[in-house]
Amino acid sequence: MVARANASHIGGALSMADLLAVLYSGVLNIRPEDPVWDSRDRFILSKGHSCTSLYATLALKKFFQIEELESYGKDGSRLMSHISHHVPGVEFSTGSLGHGLPFGCGKALAAKRSGKNWRTFVMLSDGELDEGSNWEAILFAPQHKLDNLVAIVDYNKIQSLGSVADVMELDPLADKFRAFRWGVKEIDGHDHSAIHEALSTLPFEPGKPSCLIAHTLKGKGVDFMENNLQWHYSSPKPDQLAEALRQLETEAN
């Protein structure tokens, strides 16, 4: 998709792909045939630039026809290069960073106030934790005991213009969330059983919102993309695409 549209942002799409795979095969309570089913869990992609792996996941789950993926980013397509709520299965459009968690807090609060049991999951990037809006939400969620809210941080250690350590260090990140009164777990964000295990008992601590810090690799699965800032921007050339697909398929088998 990224190559066809000559688009950017493959690195962050790959870093969260394993998390999406686990979320959409057992963790999230959803009905692809009824994307707006009342009791579904709400999943919000706050790092909207990484939309390709979510669009692909939703297509594989049959929220829409897989052929539509080919229109990604093209003239007239609803598959915008930042996640769009005009696509079935997508709750919320993002693209401007730092909007997902406050919105997710609102949803979680709505569920609480109306006595509903569904849960809200928000996928965040490490770079967007620079935004003050996220820290306002991180303060808000425990205040309102949003134990039906799960924030997942795709902690790939790279943002747009350098490493997180060089631009705006987040460590010790788990301690920060704990100090803000969240239940926190840290895992390898590419280890499917670890992800599954962590998300199978929610909330992490009674009465608190949960934060899953997933240590990931930007560009995971393609050796020349891994941990390389260039792949926040570049679109693969035909030979790079073939090599990337070969590596991902080998890994999958």
Partner: protein, 292 residues
């Protein structure tokens, strides 16, 4: 245009030691030459536009002329109150630079379409607003700003826009970039000027409208717009919604005469993506020109 911007900023920064560039975790393969040459006058503030703008105001209050740099609505709407209160109200020399004017980042979706910014930035106090159409106009804006540090907004395209003309003098009134009929003018702001020039070149000489580029959006005065007053009909062309942009600014100053018509982006343009050209087509800017 962003390359022209950074090149000109480097030229100015060599002469002007107060120039400081702050970016919001953006500008890969664009801002590096500045960062390398002036490491003490460069900062990546991270993905945190409110803090970036507050910090810029603080730096400006101590004598720097700070340029904040990000794309689309991030350096403007995201931190609007910091611009309004901290920068404009205190009349501090901060130039907000937004890359990707209008629908230049068309494929990236609605979050990245900057089509309300002129309206909003224009209402702030003490601010000078520039919306250049090409690299040449961009350079002239940066040169002027370096000599006239103040609260300001510079709305530019992205990469690869062609130079459209060589008329200089952004403060001498709208730039007459194509001669034509004395009764019909198209006044365009930003890179969409190209559409007006293409349209004019397709017309027979006696039907060809006179085309003006107007990179200065605020302040506008009757004197500044004098060149336009002899036209019976004016078409305002902008890659922006009708409300509050160029059309509105011209109406505020020139009405009740001459007759001014708006060609702009419809509020409905937000459900699909496409290239800038595609979205301009969808917006029927060209058809509206034909009908106007």
């Amino acid at each position: 245009m962003r390359t022209a911007f950074i090149q000109e900023l480097i030229l100015q920064a060599r002469k002007n030691p107060t120039i400081f560039l702050v970016v919001g975790d953006l500008g890969f393969s664009v801002v590096e030459p500045f960062a390398q040459e002036f490491p003490d006058r460069f900062l990546n503030a991270g993905v945190a536009e409110q803090n970036m703008t507050g910090v810029a105001a603080g730096l400006a209050s101590e004598g720097y002329h700070v340029f904040t740099y990000s794309i689309a609505n991030f350096p403007t709407l995201r931190c609007l109150e910091q611009i309004r209160n901290d920068v404009c109200y205190h009349s501090l020399p901060v130039t907000v630079v937004s890359v990707g004017a209008g629908m230049a980042y068309g494929n990236l979706g609605y979050s990245h379409h900057a089509v309300q910014d002129l309206a909003i930035m224009r209402t702030l106090p003490n601010i000078t607003v520039f919306s250049p159409a090409d690299p040449g106009e961009t350079r002239e804006c940066v040169q002027w700003l370096s000599l006239n540090p103040r609260p300001s907004y510079l709305r530019i395209g992205k990469a690869g826009e062609p130079d459209l003309h060589s008329v200089r003098g952004i403060f001498d009134g709208p730039l007459r970039v194509c001669e034509g009929r004395p009764d019909l003018a198209i006044v365009a702001t930003g890179s969409v000027l190209k559409l007006a020039l293409d349209f004019a070149s397709e017309q027979a000489p006696e039907k060809r409208p006179t085309v003006f580029s107007i990179p200065l959006i605020k302040p506008l005065s009757l004197e500044f717009l004098e060149k336009l007053q002899s036209f019976k009909k004016i078409i305002a062309l902008e890659e922006h919604v009708r409300e509050g942009g160029l059309f509105a600014a011209l109406c505020e100053v020139l009405s009740p005469t001459p007759h001014i018509k708006s060609i702009s982006i419809s509020e409905e343009m937000k459900n699909v993506v496409g290239s800038q050209d595609y979205l301009r087509n969808q917006a029927e800017l060209k058809e509206m020109l034909n009908r106007a």
